[in-house]
């Protein structure tokens, strides 16, 4: 899922300071799951905006709102009535959600209240880690189901680099060296010979390097 983190409150307050009425919109998808942009967080953020306005003796109307999925225009349309009552919208959905809001309501300033961080998995309670960079050509089948493209700091296809230290990445002693894990996994399953061949350079055209990516379902006309 998409993992996000709310922006620092000072940044949000500064970017919203010039508006007298704001719709704060969360998303019921990924960012609800990672406790960064769901209904609960919308409520807390709305309260913080109101408290700051009161402290500054500034009139401010804050309307809390939710979209089941902010990246879907169908759900965004349901916000239209509330949107008509405010000068701007503060969203704590991911970047895809925020931009869907901006395209459905082109007249309204959209302020992002959340930083979209990565595609990740929950590795322990309330702790997420990056697992995929959406490269568009999955290779984990060659590497014991583990992704060196996303999880090696240098995207090595023929690791580990010289900086791997006691199973940890040179970048961060708290971070597992994915190549250490790949080697151990393939060894355990008797498949280490897979790593003895040089993996050739990637064709990055399917990744972000190939430009902005789009996808149309073949059955979309039905």
């Amino acid at each position: 899922m998409i993992v996000g983190k709310q922006k620092p409150i000072e940044e949000i307050l500064e970017k919203t300071a010039s508006f007298g009425s704001i719709l704060v919109v969360g998303c019921g998808g990924c960012v609800t799951v990672c406790h960064a942009g769901g209904e609960k967080e919308v409520g807390i953020l709305a309260e913080q905006l109101e408290l700051r306005a009161m402290a500054l003796h500034r009139p401010l109307t804050v309307i809390p709102g939710m979209a089941e999925r902010q990246c879907d225009t169908e759900f965004i349309e349901q916000l239209r009535d509330d949107m008509d009552r405010v000068e701007a919208v503060l969203t704590i959905g991911c970047g895809a959600g925020a931009q869907t809001l901006a395209s459905v309501f082109p007249q309204k300033p959209v302020i992002p209240g959340l930083n979209t961080r990565f595609i990740g998995a929950q590795v322990e309670h309330m702790n997420w880690a990056e697992r995929c960079i959406g490269c568009g050509d999955c290779v984990i089948g060659d590497f014991g189901g583990l992704c060196p493209v996303a999880r090696c700091s240098k995207h090595l296809l023929n690791g580990p680099c010289g900086g791997s230290n006691n199973g940890h990445c040179e970048m961060d002693p708290e971070l597992d060296c994915i190549w250490d894990l790949i080697i151990r996994k393939l060894e355990a399953s008797g498949q280490l010979d897979r790593l003895l061949e040089v993996t050739p350079a990637r064709n990055w055209q399917t990744s972000r390097a190939g430009g902005v990516r789009r996808q149309k379902h073949e059955d979309s006309a039905l």
């Binding site: 240098k154 995207h155 023929n158 580990p160 791997s164 199973g167 250490d180 080697i183 350079a201």
Partner: protein
């Protein structure tokens, strides 16, 4: 001969090779590079010119390589995968060959987090293995990475870059048992010579070399043992704690801590290590990385009695095959 470089000829003649790093300065100073080249000219087979070493911006390795070549020192141009993609690197390889640079060392490169521009975006389009493979394809097949022949028009002659391909190896990195296999992959990719991370732990180095021998690798590649002399215990601890891939045993730290004259001790330790590794089966040379203590390089080489025979280094451009041939 793949390149005809002095380094390649030294190995081919069965002689012991000695290289050292010359760290390109941060300022556009030819004079400083000439001075560094002159200090080591009579003591080295070739000198490595690092590529934004420690992820810190310096004179480009290609420019520095040509500058030391003009001062009579054969360069080993280093290329990292961190700052350039396959297009920029191939352009540099062709450019380097045009400038008479014949040795290229391929490394992944330290992450920019450790350098002076941590906010930069890295590249890592290729990894070091892919980089070695690409250089071999350019040299042996006369083809770019995309398969196109290295020539200007379809009727023009193919002019491959004549380069001797180097790789780095870390016998001390983890998982340690996989390191000899990684060396095997680099050789399969096309490495002609290998320079190792600094050796402080002779036991681990010997084990790695033994395994490389068991895998039949030492006949296929020229291994140069890395040596880094240090003049203080602080330098040792700094490397242990902050330089990726460094392995320094406690005994080494203890010996330096107890030394009355740390500079003398550091010299002796480096000299002992050179003497210990130079006769090991499979070691064909040493590579000195005297970070911040460059002036010790000639002294160590003399003391270890491994001064290479003097050879005139060819300066200037390579013969232009394209113009000489029928275009």
């Amino acid at each position: 001969m793949k390149s005809g470089s002095r380094l390649e000829r030294t190995f081919a003649e069965g002689k012991f090779a000695v290289t050292a790093e010359i760290f390109p300065p941060r300022t556009p100073s030819v004079r400083l590079l000439h001075k560094r080249a002159e200090q080591v000219r009579d003591y080295l087979t070739a000198a490595n010119l690092t590529d934004n070493q420690s992820a810190t911006v310096r004179i480009a390795s290609m420019a520095a390589s040509r500058i030391v070549l003009d001062a009579g020192v054969e360069p080993v141009m280093q290329i990292t995968c961190r700052d350039r993609n396959r297009m920029a690197i191939q352009a540099d390889v062709i450019g380097a060959a045009a400038l008479g640079i014949k040795n290229i060392l391929c490394v992944t490169g330290d992450h920019q987090k450790f350098g002076d521009h941590p906010a930069a975006r890295n590249v890592y389009d290729l990894d070091s293995m892919n980089l070695i493979q690409m250089l071999k394809t350019m040299r042996d097949d006369g083809r770019f990475h995309n398969g196109d022949a290295i020539r200007n028009r379809s009727a023009s002659p193919v002019v491959p870059p004549e380069i001797f391909i180097g790789a780095a190896a870390n016998p001390f990195g983890s998982p340690r048992h996989f390191r000899p296999y990684r060396l095997a992959k680099k050789i399969a990719a096309g490495a002609d010579f290998v320079q190792t991370q600094p050796v402080y732990d002779l036991v681990v180095f010997r084990e790695w070399l033994q395994k490389a021998g068991d895998l039949g690798l030492i006949e296929k590649v020229h291994i140069m043992a890395g040596i880094t002399p240090v003049k203080s215990v602080d330098a040792l601890c700094y490397m242990r704690d902050h330089v990726p891939g460094m392995h320094i045993p406690e005994a080494t730290i203890r010996r330096m801590t107890g030394a009355a004259d740390p500079e003398r001790e550091g010299f002796e330790m480096a000299l002992e290590m050179i003497c210990a590794v130079k006769d090991l089966c499979g070691v064909r040379g040493i590579h000195l990385m005297a970070i911040g203590w460059e002036k010790v390089v000639p002294l160590l080489i003399e003391a270890a009695n491994i001064v290479p025979e003097p050879v005139a280094v060819h300066r200037g451009d390579r013969p232009d095959a394209e113009i000489a041939g029928k275009d």
